[in-house]
């Protein structure tokens, strides 16, 4: 046996257990340190906003070659992975369409009602002019209470009555 190999073998006999011991000691120390550390407190001390403010995002974005990144993405494969059916089921598109179309129809009907009411007023003004009728229009009747409530009611602004001008009372002679 080569004397050099014999020396190396004798050295290993000492160094291997020492290395293993050192490894165990190191792991134990790391465990103790990590266990003693309060990570939450450490994170709380970190000013994330200050760190983010230091980052030049524009410079980072300029360094990224988005075209190169996108060219590596297989869009078809990505699209095939998307479960469109489950997405549609979750989104409940039928309800969304029904709600939006119902709202549009309601607004359309309201518009027609207001237009015919305006036409009523135009005709009424013409008749009043022809009949030379003066004086205020009759006051509106109280609204019906039997209207169905389909959503949370919104408080309407109160209608203010027109102030009545009181005639001055003249004192007698």
């Amino acid at each position: 046996m080569n004397p050099r190999d014999r020396l190396t073998s004798a050295g290993r006999r000492w160094t291997d257990p020492a290395e293993a011991l050192a490894q165990q000691v190191t792991e134990r120390i790391v465990d103790l340190v990590v266990g003693a550390l309060d990570v939450n407190e450490l994170v709380a001390r970190v000013d994330v906003n200050a760190i983010i403010s230091r980052v030049d995002i524009d410079a980072v974005l300029q360094k990224i070659d988005l075209n190169a990144v996108l060219s590596q993405v297989d869009v078809n494969d990505l699209a095939q992975r998307i479960d469109v059916t489950s997405l549609v089921e979750k989104a409940d598109i039928g309800a969304i369409v029904a709600q939006s179309s119902g709202g549009m129809a309601r607004e359309g009907v309201d518009a027609v009602r207001c237009r015919t009411a305006e036409l009523d007023q135009v005709i009424d003004r013409g008749i009043r002019y022809l009949l030379r009728r003066k004086g205020p229009e009759p006051p509106p009747l109280p609204p019906m209470e039997a209207e169905p409530v389909q959503a949370e009611p919104v408080q309407a602004e109160p209608v203010q009555a027109e102030p009545v001008q009181a005639e001055p009372v003249q004192a007698g002679p």
Partner: protein
């Protein structure tokens, strides 16, 4: 058109344009239903008897049936909800002159007098134009009036105002 504008009409007396438009809609709807019913009766009679049954508008029986059907259509609608489908479309409602709900008795009176408003070139309807509260002959007889009354929703929000 705003919700506030629609709100401002509520409870006001309805004029000639709205009432005429709703009446035309009702006439089309009721005549359509009547024609469908006649066609169904004809088909049923043909299936049962084997003979072809045809209706003629000028036949007194058909005219009488149509008149009765129209009275039922308007009378039932006014008595139950104070509005016909055409009136509901244009946001109109028949009420008592004090704003109360039209009861079946006054609805019946209004229905029975309604045809008389057509006499003398529709003279009974003149009140809609010249009377301050736009009340026609059948309104005066039944103590009723027609007002704007519909549920106003905030635009886009789907909320009742």
């Amino acid at each position: 058109m705003t919700a506030q504008q629609a709100l401002s009409y509520q409870g006001r007396y309805a004029g000639a344009a709205s009432r005429l438009a709703s009446f035309v809609i009702d006439l089309i709807l009721s005549a359509g239903v009547f024609c469908v019913a006649l066609a169904a009766i004809s088909y049923g009679a043909q299936v049962i008897t084997g003979n072809l049954v045809s209706w003629n508008r000028s036949t007194p029986v058909v005219a009488a049936l149509f008149a009765v059907w129209e009275l039922l259509y308007f009378g039932f609608s006014w008595a139950t909800s104070g509005r016909t489908p055409g009136m509901a479309l244009f946001g109109l409602r028949v009420v008592r002159t004090d704003g109360a709900v039209l009861d079946p008795r006054h609805a019946t009176i209004r229905t029975l007098v309604f045809p008389f408003s057509f006499l003398f070139l529709g003279l009974g309807f003149l009140g809609i134009f010249v009377q301050r509260e736009h009340r026609a002959l059948h309104d005066l007889a039944a103590g009723s009036a027609v007002i704007y009354s519909w549920t106003v929703y905030a635009p886009g929000a789907g909320q009742k105002v």
